[in-house]
Symmetry: C2
Subunit: 446 residues, 2 copies
């Protein structure tokens, strides 16, 4: 017999055991439901692509972090490192088959050979949604609205969405004659929340004269209300222009939908990447700033530039699943259940598995997930097992079609019930959540 | 400017556009709902693992088909080629943290550098469910029941599940003194449905004398009813034994749950792989045999053998998603919708996007997916766009809180309705499906 192999996984990669995976699926499904409710459709693309296709856009820094190799057919291939480059390739390749504005979401794994010492993962799930082929305030606003609804559906702790316009910032840089250094300035300004004002000023002073460095600081510093900030940055950018007009329209839409309270106009938001050209936004958790932005994005105007001469603009955002899970855990909002089952049929006689499945099927048909236990251990052992898994109800068969329900939360037994009565008891015992749905896990209707 | 890059994907890989991806998600979610309803929990494992860990079990044939490379840290790594080896590694690594019997499902991508000329994909989604750490008829039967329920939930065309017991076959081989050639014989017998009886007999005669080759053919040939077949193979295997007992118990469970009509005892089913040791099963579509088995599996008893001295047995099956999609398409059962939205708010004034979102939110809150159109094109153009995407209802705003619903299926307009009336009209117009759920795509309650 050959020696045993150590069953270990690669550093930076993760196994998800049931409790963690249910938490993750639950978050993803809530967010996905919102995408679907807004008419955003899912797509999927290959995990592995030609290196040439993936690296068009990325600089040398990204390239080093990519899983790249030569396949058995001699092709230079790489694992995708984000979902934006594949979207660009996809949109260029299938342009004729897509209907624009094209509203899509994509939830899938990406891989980066990052330094795991910084607490980063080498494999993680990205969750992107974009509307492409449309440059309108309506599209920008819809992305913002979805962000708000998705985070609400995810039961995220209180959050604030910070918004800015890169075009307006560039107009301001032109008025102070610093447009040529736009990229470097943006990268420095992006560090404001991490480094503080003094350090940003010092960095800016290294590439601009002192006066202009201070003007940049004045521009990006918070001013109070949306309107005060709006007036100040519009004036600094040389007065009314299409970019300030866009911000004004977005504000109108917020007021119309009574969502203005979660949005803040913050001129220091730049989202680092050169990629963005219009509105940019990020979402901080009010009581957990150290977690960072849990949903960010912006408008861009050269999505397919590498693959096609026809420009395609768009606006989109990405939900930070790992950060949100961390926030939900910190807020004590995770269920830590190892199963979707709300009920378990207790086993008194292993030969009765057919009868137990028959009972369980009645509950399943009524939308109640129901496990059948196989081993006729002591009932206390079976109750403990169900409870540890997160199952609330133990089903104790009495005779054909009659049973006792034991509520493992209170350790109370019901009277002898028919199956229909038991189903009603379970359904009525679960509180309705905000959407008016039962807190039970149930079959998802379509 | 650098030259344009050709936006192409690797051969054997696929993009999924909205209609195809919605079909795929719909199938996966229906099947997944059944796994959850039975108390099976999801897990996830890394796409990339140490080659040594993945190759423990696989022979040289599989090895050639694997995407294997050296990562930037000098590690010998490979993309997973199935979900069974990762399950074995996972079970060995996390044994102390898992509760047995451990019922898990895993739906994830796998990669194989297969010859694409045979119509195979190099990237595809596997959908496995297993119950491990338990060797009982109850566990075997639960897997069979889930297979039946999952295929029913997936709206699969009429199907028959064929069942056999590898242990019983091996006992028969002992009685004819051919147990030493068990593996080769199993591989030949597995080809019966593809090659026919005469060719199988010829192949068997090459490794067995003529009399025993005919005895094998007699064993595997269909005998009529379950009971006739059962009696014949039990006698051929030397009379009652634990394996025939297992088959008898499974039959009792089928009768108890009134599911016996979809199961056939078929002694020619072997599922090729050496891996299986107990019951084996496959599922053929009655009217589409050429599609092959859409759900197969069996019982095995050395899952973690490579990584641990403690044996772990289990039983499981795998749903063939690509084959099922092909069958659903051939049966005209695919919806070909490009969106989950059932309604779209028509745009008459682009500045009203806020008001349109406000209306749409009312429908979304009621569980109706609703897109907002952004461009004030002619209404006929907008109706056509909605219809092509698979959206049935156009929402024509009349004033605050009043609207007209246009049914794009009949081209009829409603009277002027309040939003609540419109929601009711849409909900009542959609037929209920078998589970009593609306055929609408709606928010999935949890």
């Amino acid at each position: 017999m050959s020696p045993l192999i150590d069953p270990r996984i690669l550093k930076g990669f993760r196994d998800f055991l049931p409790a963690a995976e249910i938490e993750r699926r639950n978050l993803i499904e809530r967010v996905e439901d919102v995408f679907r409710a807004f008419g955003f459709a899912p797509i999927d693309t290959p995990a592995l692509e030609y290196t040439e296709v993936l690296f068009g856009k990325a600089g040398g820094e990204t390239e080093k972090q990519v899983y790249r190799f030569t396949d058995n057919g001699g092709r230079d291939v790489a694992l995708r490192f984000d979902l934006t480059v594949p979207l660009a390739r996809f949109a260029a390749e299938h342009r004729a088959a897509l209907r624009f504005p094209f509203k899509r979401y994509h939830i899938a794994k990406v891989w980066r050979g990052e330094n795991t010492q910084r607490g980063r993962y080498r494999e993680f799930t990205q969750c992107d949604f974009d509307c492409i082929g449309c440059d309108s305030a309506a599209a920008d606003f819809e992305i913002l609205l979805i962000m708000k609804e998705a985070l609400t559906a995810a039961d995220a702790p209180p959050f604030t969405m910070r918004l800015n316009h890169r075009g307006l910032f560039n107009r301001f840089l032109q008025t102070i004659d610093a447009a040529g250094k736009s990229t470097e300035i943006l990268r420095i300004v992006d560090k404001l929340s991490k480094m503080g004002k003094d350090d940003v000023l010092r960095l800016l002073s290294a590439i601009l004269d002192d006066k202009r460095a201070r003007q940049v600081i004045d521009y990006i510093e918070p001013k109070g209300s949306w309107n005060e900030t709006f007036e100040a940055i519009t004036t600094a950018a040389g007065g009314d222009n299409p970019d300030s007009e866009r911000l004004k329209t977005l504000r109108d839409f917020m007021i119309e939908t009574e969502t203005q309270d979660v949005f803040v106009l913050d001129p220091s938001i730049t989202r680092g990447l050169d990629y963005y050209t219009g509105v940019v936004f990020e979402t901080m958790l009010d009581d957990m700033p150290s977690i960072g932005s849990v949903c960010s994005g912006g408008r861009y105007d050269k999505l397919t530039g590498l693959y096609s001469k026809e420009a395609l603009s768009g606006v989109g955002a990405s939900v930070g699943l790992d950060r949100l899970i961390a926030a939900l855990e910190a807020a004590g909002k995770t269920a830590k259940r190892e199963t979707y089952a709300d009920a378990a049929v207790i086993c008194f006689d292993e030969a009765q598995a057919g009868a137990y499945q028959k009972i369980a099927n009645r509950f399943r048909e009524a939308g109640i997930c129901c496990e059948v236990f196989f081993e006729a251990k002591k009932d206390s052992v079976q109750f403990a097992r169900a409870e540890k898994k997160g199952i609330r109800w133990a089903i104790i068969e009495i005779a054909n079609d009659t049973l006792i329900l034991r509520d493992l939360a209170t350790r109370e037994d019901s009277e002898v019930l028919s199956i229909s009565e038991a189903i009603l008891l379970i359904k009525n015992s679960h509180k309705l959540n905000q959407n008016g749905h039962s807190a039970l896990f149930v079959y998802r209707p379509r």
